[in-house]
């Protein structure tokens, strides 16, 4: 009860200060902008996917209408794959602007296609987006510092300090309740637009709760850091600006210096093959096959696909089954490199995860994009889905090609489709 009366008293006192109200309204506006632009980005991604799906279906229908063999059907038809933004993606766009979330593949060697990227405008990615995660991870600490650094020193400088601590029953409680009021107001201004946004995109309550927890955690960290520094004897001798510059340097170190230094360390520690080598290896393997005896292709292909052992005879110098077999061989030859490449990305990401314990800003960013499923891992999962889908295409076409089945449209209607739940319906809020 005492704490409550403390808090109401402090609130009445603090909200009379106009600078506080203007700071809070700025935070509120920033958060509104971040949420609005995030939702607009999410919506535009969703509608892009819908338009693409439609065009993809029309295109494949058109292509298949002109085909006379399964081989050429596979050669000419592209297939759309996509990874829709989660309902929470608006709050943390994460890595979605540099890793692709839409991709078209066909039955040719996958290693030659999968690195194609329909990425966002590089200049905008370079400038960075202003999303809610950025607001929370980078700017929130600065707001806390601006609000709380002169808690004591402002009173000291205006000569009220001694009076205040003699009249307060418990000194600690006074500062704590004052800081709590300020931070509660801050977090309110920050979270209100977010929660409204999350409810309109129908994000799950669990994910909203998790994000709120992350925001509170980050806020509490900076609140206690600021409070404990301002309580030191060292700070007692410093003026407001001096205290703020010390806190600012801490922010600078954990938000900027630690991430850039760890980035260099991670880069040195993790050996990664050059992406160019993967595609070159694949290309050499695929193109050399034309000049090599057929047996060269079959000798590589059959060990992984022994079921077609008896079906390799060819009437002419060209047969689609042989063509796709050497595409497969191209992938097989590049597969070791490609795996190392992907593992290097995952390893770097895991190390960044460990290093982020040193940087609350990075930690917050990573947690939020992991809740929103927009982090590197989510992008790599999408890549794996593309690989799996491509495999399904091969599983579909190989029997038709090797058994030399007569082409007919009936069979083509069983062509595997890439599917991913995209609209989240009202009764099924769980996003897949």
């Amino acid at each position: 009860m005492l704490l409550f009366s403390n808090i109401t008293r402090e609130a009445k006192f603090l909200f009379k200060q106009s600078y506080l109200l203007s700071l809070l309204s700025i935070v509120f506006l920033l958060s509104t902008f971040a949420v609005w632009s995030g939702i607009s980005e999410s919506n535009s991604q969703l509608s892009t996917i819908e338009r693409l799906q439609e065009k993809d279906t029309i295109d494949r229908k058109n292509v298949l209408a002109n085909q006379t063999s399964f081989g050429s059907a596979a050669y000419y038809s592209f297939h759309l794959t996509y990874s829709p933004p989660s309902a929470m993606a608006f709050a943390a766009m994460g890595q979605r602007d540099i890793y692709p979330w839409k991709h078209r593949v066909r039955m040719l060697a996958l290693e030659g296609q999968i690195y194609e990227t329909d990425a966002d405008n590089p200049e905008l990615s370079f400038l960075g987006r202003f999303d809610f995660a950025f607001l929370v991870s980078v700017l929130l600490p600065l707001f806390v510092i601006l609000l709380l650094h002169d808690l004591r020193s402002a009173e000291r400088e205006s000569g009220r300090y001694d009076l205040l601590i003699t009249t307060a029953r418990k000194q600690q409680r006074l500062w704590l309740s004052r800081a709590s009021v300020l931070c509660l107001a801050l977090v309110g201004a920050l979270l209100l637009p977010f929660i409204i946004g999350a409810l309109t995109t129908q994000a799950t309550l669990a994910s909203i709760g998790l994000i709120v927890l992350v925001v509170l955690g980050h806020l509490l960290f900076w609140m206690f850091l600021t409070l404990s520094y301002t309580a030191t004897n060292r700070a007692a001798k410093q003026n407001s600006a001096h205290i703020a510059s010390v806190l600012l340097s801490i922010w600078l170190v954990v938000t900027i210096l630690i991430p850039v230094v760890t980035d260099i360390i991670i880069d040195k520690l993790v050996e990664s093959p050059n992406g160019g080598d993967i595609v070159m290896t694949q290309r050499e393997a695929v193109n050399a096959a034309w000049d090599l005896p057929f047996s060269a292709t079959w000798n590589e292909f059959l060990p992984t696909h022994p079921q077609w052992q008896e079906k390799t005879q060819m009437d002419s110098l060209f047969a689609w089954k042989w063509y796709y077999a050497f595409q497969q061989v191209g992938d097989q030859k590049a597969s070791a490199l490609s795996k190392t490449y992907r593992n290097a990305i995952l390893k770097k990401d895991a190390m960044a995860g460990n290093f982020s314990y040193l940087s609350p800003a990075m930690m917050t960013q990573r947690l939020m994009s992991s809740i929103a499923k927009t982090n590197t891992i989510a992008s790599m999962e999408y890549e794996q889905k593309i690989r799996n889908y491509h495999q399904k295409l091969r599983d579909f076409y190989y029997p038709l090609l090797f058994n030399e089945t007569e082409f007919n449209y009936q069979i083509m209607s069983e062509l595997p489709q890439f599917s991913e739940q995209i609209k989240i319906s009202k009764n099924d809020k769980e996003n897949s």
């Binding site: 920033l30 609005w36 632009s37 607009s40 980005e41 892009t48 338009r51 693409l52 065009k55 993809d56 295109d59 540099i98 991709h103 078209r104 194609e116 990227t117 329909d118 990425a119 966002d120 405008n121 590089p122 200049e123 905008l124 990615s125 370079f126 400038l127 960075g128 987006r129 202003f130 991870s137 700017l139 402002a154 400088e157 003026n239 407001s240 600006a241 001096h242 600078l252 900027i256 850039v260 980035d263 260099i264 880069d267 990664s272 992406g275 160019g276 595609v279 070159m280 290309r283 193109n287 000049d291 110098l317 060209f318 770097k348 290093f355 982020s356 990075m362 960013q365 990573r366 982090n375």
Partner: protein, 478 residues
């Protein structure tokens, strides 16, 4: 009069020397810039060598291919790599976010692959250890830490009036303090100047590096001006500090990103895939270049028949398949280029919206200027795409011409019959020499300068605005 200003400047320096804070800020700022210049120079040179090497080996591999059917080489394709510009040791710009390699092949325009950020740890999405980031974002903060109290200090201690009674002109006082702060900021620029000289030896024109460095000097002048003006307008150290930090957050962190988000929201770009579908729609009307029997080529055939006065494809002195390949590649490329051009214009329009924020924050103005001058802006990436496309079209068409002129229609038609006919359907490997070598050079000085003109105006605008605020500040103190 000058000696008064001089004295004030020197006095300010002595004060900073006494207080450890200012001194250590300058030291840390300069050290960080030196380190970042060294790290960046090393990594950029490594990248440059690696890509040059990849480019050469890619060309050598193409030329080393054995005798083949020319269309096989169209699909064998070629890789081009973008070598970084000399000034990217200071301003890497969009380089880390754009792909660095493109696979060139017939009938397709591929996107650039392997952007560095996709292989990075993700730790550098907010900050990066590049000299440009340090100078554009952190240097203003350091200037604030050094100078926020330069006038308010005197006000709080009551020494301002003493200085006036000694006959010092207020304007001289402000100018003296301003010069002191500017000189601190310029110390952080020293490593940049060294790197600029390095880039000049690396092939960058002295005119460009000169203007580049002058741009950064402007930026220091602007921020030092903001700091002095706020300090002169405030009554207390703490107020001056809080206001300056708020301005720094707004100018260096908030507004540039708000600019980028605004651009994405106002002018959404549909992306390459969507354009690809539109291209496909167009292409269906053009016919398949692999299939010379496609009815779309009927007119072409008739024209050739009248030109050579024959009535059978077999009687044509040229290989009709090669002609069709050339014809359809040309048509297709025209369509592809229309869409590629449209997409680049869309991206540029987005970038220009975000650069308009240079009127709201000097940081964006500086960044646009810096990227364009260094040749690491979106425009340069687009030129890379265009040059790669030109190379692609040239070698594909040259191969198609070889297909038309050096391979008989009969041999071509029978290429899959047996090993003997397959051998007949090949052309000599010396034909692969049609590939011209690729090296990506930075834009010319004039192009870069004229492109950065709007941002030079923005920087001037900020300088003028600062001068204006100075006048207000001087009037207010009186």
């Amino acid at each position: 009069m000058n000696s008064v200003i001089n004295q004030i400047t020197r006095h300010e320096w002595r004060y900073w020397h006494r207080t450890k804070l200012a001194f250590s800020v300058i030291l840390i700022g300069t050290l960080l810039t030196i380190i970042s210049v060294m790290v960046n120079t090393q990594s950029m040179q490594h990248t440059a060598h690696e890509r040059e090497h990849l480019q050469q080996s890619s060309e050598a591999q193409f030329l080393d291919q054995p005798d083949r059917h020319p269309h096989r080489m169209v699909h064998y394709g070629h890789y081009v790599f973008r070598t970084p510009s000399p000034l990217s040791i200071i301003e890497p710009g969009v380089d880390a976010y754009t792909g660095t390699a493109i696979f060139l092949e017939g009938h397709k325009q591929n996107s650039a692959m392997f952007a560095d950020q996709r292989q990075a740890s993700g730790m550098t999405r907010f900050s990066s250890l590049t000299p440009s980031f340090l100078l554009q974002v952190l240097a203003p903060l350091f200037i604030i830490l050094i100078g926020y109290a330069s006038v308010t200090r005197e006000k709080e201690a009551g020494t301002l009036n003493i200085i006036f009674t000694q006959g010092v002109n207020l304007r001289h006082l402000i100018i003296g303090k301003y010069l002191a702060i500017v000189s601190c900021g310029l110390m952080m620029l020293l490593p940049l100047i060294v790197a600029g000289i390095w880039a000049t030896f690396d092939g960058e024109s002295i005119f460009i590096t000169g203007s580049f460095v002058i741009g950064y000097v402007f930026y220091i002048l602007i921020w030092s001006g903001i700091v002095i003006a706020v300090s002169a307008l405030s009554n207390k150290n703490s107020v001056s500090f809080a206001v300056l930090i708020a301005i720094w957050i707004a100018f260096c962190i908030l507004l540039p990103r708000i600019g980028s988000s605004t651009a994405a929201a106002l002018a959404p770009s549909p992306g390459k895939l969507e354009a690809d579908f539109a291209v496909l729609d167009e292409l269906r009307k053009l016919g398949d270049g692999h299939n010379a029997a496609d009815p779309a080529f009927e007119q072409l055939k008739k024209n050739l028949f009248t030109q050579y006065n024959v009535d059978k494809i077999e009687d044509l002195p040229i290989n009709f398949r090669g002609t069709v390949a050339q014809y359809s590649e040309k048509k297709l490329t025209d369509v592809l280029n229309i869409f590629a051009e449209k997409r680049m214009q869309e991206e540029l329009a987005q970038a220009k919206i975000s650069r308009l924020f240079g009127w709201l924050t000097p940081t964006t103005a500086m960044r646009s200027f810096s990227m364009i001058m260094a040749g690491t802006s979106l425009e340069t990436h687009h030129r890379f795409l265009r040059e790669a496309e030109k190379l692609r079209f040239d070698f594909v068409q040259s191969l198609n011409k070889v297909h038309q002129d050096s391979l008989s229609y009969q041999a071509d038609a029978n290429r899959y019959k047996n090993a003997e006919t397959a051998k007949m359907a090949r052309v000599d490997a010396k034909n692969w020499q049609v590939l011209s070598s690729f090296s990506f050079e930075p834009d010319s000085e004039i192009t870069r300068l004229s492109r950065s003109f709007p941002y030079i105006i923005q920087l001037f605008f900020w300088l003028v605005a600062i001068g204006f605020i100075f006048r207000i500040a001087i009037r207010r103190i009186r």
